[in-house]
Structures are given as structure tokens and as C-alpha cells.
């Protein structure tokens, strides 16, 4: 029992980071699942993070902190969607990357809201049960979405926009909803991240986290909501596991190599519904062959 509690004590923060990264990955996934590669989750997270941090400093309760962060994320995501949805997917990726660059400059130059270069201390550690609750709720919401009209429509949209349009799917509407969900989840994730780090600065929400989100999502698989969660957990745990085998200097290199190997050998990610279906179909197909023979 002592062993278990020791294990928990040493890995507690890893688990917390994996959970927050899951939120970010889910936020990236929902837009990706609607056919857009977008880095704008970083922006939503920055808004949620700084709004949340300011409210925590003022002593507001956690439900309101998360509520405001979600609202802020939603608001900014709808704004981004209104402007960016005119672009096609290549340009969307580039424009959202530009937006991440601009976000850092804006946060650097608005010290009244963000603390500028010095950053912002957050005088509240995020309770683990809150984080777990938020993640469970989010995952349940994604489960419901997956089986909803929106989930089906966005999958069709991603596979073939023309087919989706022929089936009467309103492309703009689906994309707008996807961005809205991404904004809410990203904002909540940002607030959770701020309370987890207990310190945020303009560099917190920059390219590093942007690439982490995308990498975790693709690593886990972007064809099912469970993929991003698995990806975030693996991506967060990987450096910790590596620590045991590799010197500190080579860890980042090893992370890159793992990501590279996954892209080459498992391009659809760890969780791939199509592979499962193919595997299920395989015995049946073999049976057909036997009958024909």
C-alpha cells in the first residue's frame, strides 16, 4: 500500500498534466475532425488561462472560473471562426499559426491583463477531483457528440465535403459548431493549465504547446474521440518513462524520434476505428472466400 501511495506521489503531476493535455488534444481534435488543421486551440487556451488566472487572483470560486474561461474561449473561437472559415484548409493552418504568433505579442503588450513579460502568478493549486470531474464531463460530452447528428455529419464532411453537401449537411454550420466546442474545451483547458502551473506568461501559450497539441492528437488518432485522450496520455508519459533509460539531453530527441516512427508506421494514430472494423471484417471475408472455393 505504501508502494502505491509513493507511486501516486511521484506521478501525481504527470497524471494532472496528462489530463490537461487531453483537454487540449480534444479541443484540437474536434476541429480536425471537421476537416481543418488549426493551431487556434492555443489562442483559446491563452484566453481561458488569463481570464481564469485573473479571476482566481480576485478570489472567485472555481465553478465561475471555469465558466468564465469556457465563455471566453467560446467567444474568441466564434470570432476566429467567423473570420477564418472563409479560408481553405491549407490557409487555415497557416493563418492559425500566424494567430498564435500574434497572441504572444498581444499578451506581451497587455501587462494590465496578462502581467506582460513577468507573467502572472496563480495563487491556487487545481484540486485533482475538480480536474478529473472536468475531464470526465468533457469526455462524456464527446461520447454523446460522436453518436449525435453533429458527429456523423462532421465525419462525412471530413471524408468528402461534396458528399456531405449533397446529403444536406450545412458545412458552415458544422464547422462553426466544431470551432465553438473547440473554444469551450480549449478555454477550460487553459484555465486548468494555469492553475496546474500556478504561473503563466506569454511563452506558456506559444509554439511549444501548439505542436504538443497537434502531435498528441495525431499520435493518438484523430478519427475517434478516444484517440486524443490516449495520445495526450502517451505523449505526457513518454518523457517520464524515457527518463529511466536516457540522459536528460537526449529526451527531446527521443520524443521526436517516437513521433517520427508513429507517423511513418502508424499514420492513422494509435486509436483507429477503421483498423478495428477491418480486423472484425477479416474473418467474415475469409469465410466468404472458403464458401466460394
Amino acid at each position: 500500500m505504501d508502494y502505491l501511495s509513493d507511486l501516486w506521489a511521484t506521478n501525481r503531476s504527470t497524471v494532472a498534466f496528462a489530463m490537461v493535455n487531453s483537454l487540449f488534444a480534444l479541443s484540437t481534435y474536434v476541429v480536425l475532425a471537421a476537416g481543418f488543421l488549426s493551431f487556434s486551440t492555443v489562442v483559446f487556451a491563452a484566453v481561458g488561462g488569463f481570464v481564469g488566472a485573473q479571476l482566481v487572483v480576485k478570489g472567485v470560486g472555481l465553478p465561475f472560473v471555469f465558466g468564465a474561461a469556457a465563455g471566453g474561449g467560446l467567444l474568441i473561437s466564434l470570432l476566429v471562426a467567423a473570420v477564418f472559415l472563409r479560408l481553405n484548409s491549407h490557409w487555415m493552418a497557416l493563418a492559425s499559426l500566424a494567430l498564435v504568433l500574434i497572441t504572444r505579442v498581444v499578451t506581451l503588450n497587455a501587462p494590465a491583463l496578462t502581467g506582460g513579460v513577468n507573467g502572472l502568478g496563480v495563487p491556487l493549486a487545481l484540486p485533482m477531483d475538480w480536474l478529473t470531474g472536468v475531464l470526465v464531463l468533457t469526455v462524456l460530452a464527446f461520447y454523446a457528440l460522436h453518436h449525435s447528428w453533429f458527429g456523423v455529419a462532421s465525419r462525412v464532411l471530413r471524408e468528402d465535403p461534396s458528399v456531405a453537401a449533397c446529403m444536406g449537411v450545412d458545412l458552415r454550420q458544422i464547422q462553426l459548431i466544431a470551432f465553438g466546442i473547440s473554444g469551450i474545451v480549449g478555454g477550460i483547458g487553459g484555465a486548468a493549465y494555469a492553475m496546474l502551473l500556478q504561473f503563466i506568461s506569454p511563452d506558456t501559450f506559444f509554439l511549444g504547446i501548439a505542436f504538443t497539441m497537434i502531435a498528441a492528437t495525431v499520435l493518438g488518432g484523430s478519427y475517434h474521440w478516444f484517440g486524443p485522450v490516449v495520445g495526450a496520455v502517451v505523449y505526457t508519459a513518454l518523457p517520464i518513462v524515457m527518463q529511466a533509460f536516457l540522459p536528460h539531453l537526449l529526451q527531446e530527441v527521443a520524443n521526436g524520434v517516437v513521433l517520427l516512427l508513429i507517423m511513418i508506421f502508424l499514420p492513422r494514430g494509435l486509436i483507429d476505428p477503421r483498423a478495428v472494423r477491418l480486423r472484425r471484417a477479416a474473418p467474415a471475408a475469409a469465410g466468404v472466400m472458403k464458401i466460394r472455393a
Partner: protein, 295 residues
């Protein structure tokens, strides 16, 4: 007035670096369809290799440049063959290539940090022409003039290569459709290798020059060039070498002037806002044809 003129020169030199890097970056983006996040690392590694040539072998300046270019070209070809070729054979989309390039970014950047001992190094002052060509009416360092001249030479050369030569047609054909190019008698495998090497060499040239000019040889050199070069490519129109070069120079000058006369804090804001405005309003850029199929 003297301040204005010397800042104009600074802007020109800085912009030339961005434009030069952007030409390499845009070549891969326009022809191979890869948004290569690892391109900045080629520049960092070129500077590191150039520095090694200067310190370990006491190579003269032109050889340092060549060493940087060659090293970056080799890295670019290795990245392409190890990372992008498997995706290409599978017919994967742009997203896969972007993630792969991010993986290479992580690998090459941390190796670069390892190579420089997590410090910013600089070239020994004897390894490059450090003298002033003029002191009156404005100070004109030789390196600034060299940088500007290199940009002009590379931009003109690349433009002629891409538009007037059969190799250029082959590169554009492979970029448009590798199968059709192969049917037309183009060896797409070697053209892809050539494109990767060329793009690596140009970015490497920008990196080595940048390492000398800014006295900063570390992984941050490549990151800075990547962001500014990316802006130059988008603003200029990535299908046109001239556009990238001109946009790079304009952005460099604007950046220096905004920093000098308006506010240092707004330097980057200005560049990136311009980038965003172009993406939204005129995604084909200043000089682009906009004929590319936008999937």
C-alpha cells in the same frame, strides 16, 4: 538623416536574410507541398557547421559559406528521405508531412542545442570580412552588403532557374502532379531530391550569413528565420521567388523602422499582423498567380 540611412541598411540586410530563407522555405512549400517546420533547423545547423569549419579548420569565408550550404543540403535531403518519402509513397496529406517535420524540428533543435552547449556562439572575427566599406556618410559594414548581394543573386538565379530552364519546368511539373510529370519523362525521385537539396542549401546560406551578421549561432537563429521567412513567403506569394525576396526585404525594413520610430514592442506585432491580413485578404500574396489548386 544618418540614423535613417543606417537603419535603412540594417533593415535591408535583415530583410535580405528573411527573403533568402523564405526562398528556400517557399520552394519546398510550393513544389513539394510541405509546410516544413524543420526548415529553421537547417539554417541553425548550417551556421553550426560553418562555425565548425571556421574554428576547427580555419577555413576562409567563401569555404565557410559552402560548408554551411552543403551541410544544410545534406540535412535537408536526409530529412526528406527519412521522413517525407515514406509519406509520399503512401500518398499521405499535408498534415502528415507537417507533423513529421515537427518531429524533425524537435530532434534537430535539441541536437543543435547539444552542439552549441545551449549557448549562443559567434564566429571568430578573423573568419569573415568584418571591415567597414564606408564610414561617411553612412557606416556600411561589408557583411551587410554581402548579404544584400547574395539575396539579389539567389533571387535572380532561382527565378531564372524556375522559369527558364528545363530543370525548373521539371520541378514545377513534379510539384503540380508527380504522376503526370513521370509520364512526361521526368524522373520525379531525383527532382524531389534536387528540390530538397536546393531548398536546404538556400536556407543554409541564410543561416550561415545570419549567424555571422547577428553573431548568434544557436537553435534560436533558425526559429527567428523560420517565423520571418514564413511571413515573407506568405506576403510575397509562395509561387513566385521574386515576390518572396521583395516581401522579405520590405518586412525587414518595416520591422527595423517600426522598432526605431514607433515602438520596439510592436516590431513583431506589425510583421505578424501583416502576415495575417495577407492570409485573409490576399492569400495568393503580392505576386502570386493564385492558380494553385486550393484543396
Amino acid at each position: 538623416m544618418e540614423l535613417f540611412a543606417s537603419q535603412l541598411l540594417n533593415g535591408l540586410a535583415l530583410g535580405s536574410l528573411c527573403g533568402l530563407f523564405g526562398i528556400g522555405f517557399g520552394l519546398v512549400f510550393a513544389t513539394l507541398g510541405i509546410l516544413n517546420a524543420a526548415q529553421g533547423c537547417y539554417a541553425s545547423w548550417a551556421a553550426i557547421i560553418g562555425l565548425a569549419a571556421a574554428e576547427k579548420m580555419g577555413a576562409p569565408f567563401p569555404l565557410i559559406m559552402l560548408a554551411g550550404m552543403g551541410g544544410a543540403a545534406a540535412v535537408a535531403v536526409a530529412v526528406d528521405q527519412l521522413g517525407f518519402q515514406p509519406l509520399r509513397t503512401r500518398g499521405a496529406d499535408m498534415l502528415g508531412a507537417l507533423i513529421t517535420s515537427i518531429a524533425f524540428w524537435m530532434i534537430l533543435d535539441s541536437l543543435a542545442g547539444f552542439a552549441t552547449g545551449q549557448q549562443s556562439l559567434s564566429f571568430p572575427s578573423t573568419s569573415y570580412p568584418g571591415q567597414m566599406l564606408l564610414t561617411e556618410p553612412v557606416p556600411l559594414p561589408a557583411m551587410q552588403l554581402i548579404t544584400i548581394a547574395v539575396l539579389v543573386a539567389v533571387a535572380v538565379g532561382m527565378h531564372l532557374l524556375m522559369t527558364r530552364s528545363s530543370v525548373g519546368s521539371a520541378i514545377r511539373a513534379v510539384g503540380w502532379n508527380p504522376v503526370a510529370a513521370a509520364l512526361g519523362g521526368v524522373n520525379s525521385r531525383s527532382i524531389i531530391l534536387l528540390t530538397a537539396a536546393l531548398s536546404g542549401a538556400i536556407s543554409g546560406l541564410a543561416g550561415t550569413l545570419g549567424g555571422v551578421l547577428t553573431s548568434n549561432v544557436s537553435f534560436t537563429l533558425g526559429q527567428g528565420l523560420l517565423l520571418k521567412g514564413f511571413a515573407a513567403v506568405v506576403v510575397g506569394g509562395y509561387s513566385d521567388v521574386r515576390g518572396t525576396a521583395i516581401a522579405g526585404v520590405i518586412l525587414g525594413i518595416l520591422e527595423v523602422f517600426v522598432g526605431q520610430y514607433i515602438s520596439t514592442a510592436l516590431r513583431d506585432a506589425f510583421t505578424y499582423s501583416l502576415l495575417l491580413v495577407f492570409l485573409l485578404v490576399k492569400p495568393q500574396g503580392l505576386f502570386g498567380k493564385g492558380s494553385l489548386v486550393r484543396a
